[in-house]
Symmetry: C2
Subunit: 295 residues, 2 copies
């Protein structure tokens, strides 16, 4: 049997063990995330979002009046504009809009709520550019999905306009780690395991922070008046039930929800879209979802 | 505030209380389900599927070589070709294929597994017409979704080819009634409540039948090698968690799953598509899903 595309990505990710130190982990995620460069026709430009580092991207023919505001994953402790550039830029192409990727501060140097402050700053920066909230989608993978959901809660609490929709890839929604698939998918998931998540959660929200706080574990949030959300998750993920339980909780609050489970895909698989047809297909589906809600 | 379309359907359904006798309940579901006739351009034709009553339907321009095999809802005790004709015929139009609706035997006169036998007979009848399994989609709402899932389990057990995809509207997947939304959505759901479901379950699978049998409660089935499935459910349903838990269970078995939660929609809302834009939109989404898998 020939090696499948996803097996090749698994090999890429597991050929070296995960490093121990934070600096080494950040370098490693930047390395594996940027295995494939952005496409040649993408234009990227650094931007200072009122003190928070960001990067604009645009593909030919995209609408500059619409923006996908994106928060990278990495457990709140790693990940960057560099690691997620290929994902974000191709998502923008699929959604036919500009993207703004955010380099929010990382834990453990900057624990919760520094990331929320940076997300709010980036959102307000974007609004000050003259963008209507109805023309902004927010997106994020893993901890970035957590941050996108928390941003919406913060905007609602502040009485500010919310984005038109949310796109969440493999979101980490429950930092209490109560999901059933953390155990049942442990052997099949090459990346995310409970002990590692506990280390990340402790760095991001050290004791005595209450991990059931809905701003930390958005699974427990009140989703009333949340915008439509697309949740994409791989079947080979310990975080599968973080996604399915989010769908139920948001749906029960009368939110429009679409959940997609992608067979055999692993955590945040659209990162490797350059070499993974299901990564490209997931981005195309996300682009369709976003464009239907930001017409 | 003007009355919304869904409020008008709620009024239609609750203006009279649910009757007590089985015959009266069947008449009532036929009445509210056929409030709107099939569209004028739909052709329907009765068919004897080797002893099981069925009905073909086709919309102009649909492909006669592809079929949506449909099982109506009604708690295994009511529902018919008549009650579901508007839903099935418009689903066929959206999927651009013929439909075959099945009048399987009803409980309590015919308890489990009579319905499974009829579903298998209908499936095999269809195959004998020369249809490739890859050109057949199976669909069902409520108990009909349960039956569609059970049919796939039976086909797998028998070593027979499975349909190309499954489309499940408000599926009743757990006859043990362990879903959290049975309680949390009880007040908002106008149709489906736990005591009623218990009455239906007792008629369909009387004691000492084990309700955890995966053929009775497909939530507990092994979903290995199931075809892609689209699950559509309303947010105003006690059966919301029957749908979300199905998505998790099937997804964990590496099945391609799309779950859609439709805000404010009630149990099996596409029945009333003639007067409900979200019913038409749900059918359009189902049609797109099916056509993408039966190209």
């Amino acid at each position: 049997m020939p090696q499948s595309e996803i097996d090749a990505i698994r090999t890429l990710l597991t050929v070296k063990p995960r490093p121990v130190g934070w600096a080494e982990r950040r370098a490693r995620l930047d390395e594996v995330g940027s295995t494939w460069s952005p496409a040649d026709d993408i234009k990227c430009k650094a931007v200072d979002c009122d003190g928070v580092r960001g990067e604009w991207s645009i593909a030919p023919g995209s609408d500059t009046k619409k923006v996908l505001l994106y928060f990278h994953g990495g457990g709140y402790c790693s990940g960057s504009i560099v690691s997620h550039r290929r994902l974000v830029t191709e998502a923008g192409r699929a959604a036919k809009m500009r993207t703004l990727a955010i380099d929010y501060r990382l834990a453990p140097e900057h624990p919760f709520p520094a990331q929320h402050e940076d997300a709010l700053t980036a959102w307000r920066f974007l609004r000050k550019q003259g963008l209507d909230a109805r023309n902004i989608a927010v997106g994020g993978d893993s901890a970035g999905g957590n941050l996108a959901l928390s941003l919406i809660s913060r905007l609602r609490a502040a009485g500010e306009a919310r984005p038109a929709c949310a796109w969440l890839v493999s979101p980490w929604t429950d930092l209490t780690m109560s999901g059933a698939t953390l155990a049942s998918r442990d052997l099949v998931d090459p990346l995310i395991h409970k002990a590692y998540l506990e280390e990340l959660a402790d760095a991001y929200a050290p004791e005595p922070t209450d991990l059931t706080d809905p701003l930390i574990s958005p699974l427990f949030a009140n989703f009333s008046r949340f915008p439509p959300m697309l949740i994409q998750v791989g079947s080979a993920e310990t975080l599968l039930s973080d996604a399915t339980r989010l769908a139920e909780a948001a749906g029960a609050a009368d939110v429009e929800v679409r959940l997609e489970v992608w067979p055999h895909m692993i955590h945040a698989w659209p990162l490797w879209n350059a070499a993974l047809a299901d990564g490209r297909r997931a981005l195309a589906a996300a682009g369709d979802f976003i464009r239907a809600r930001i017409p």
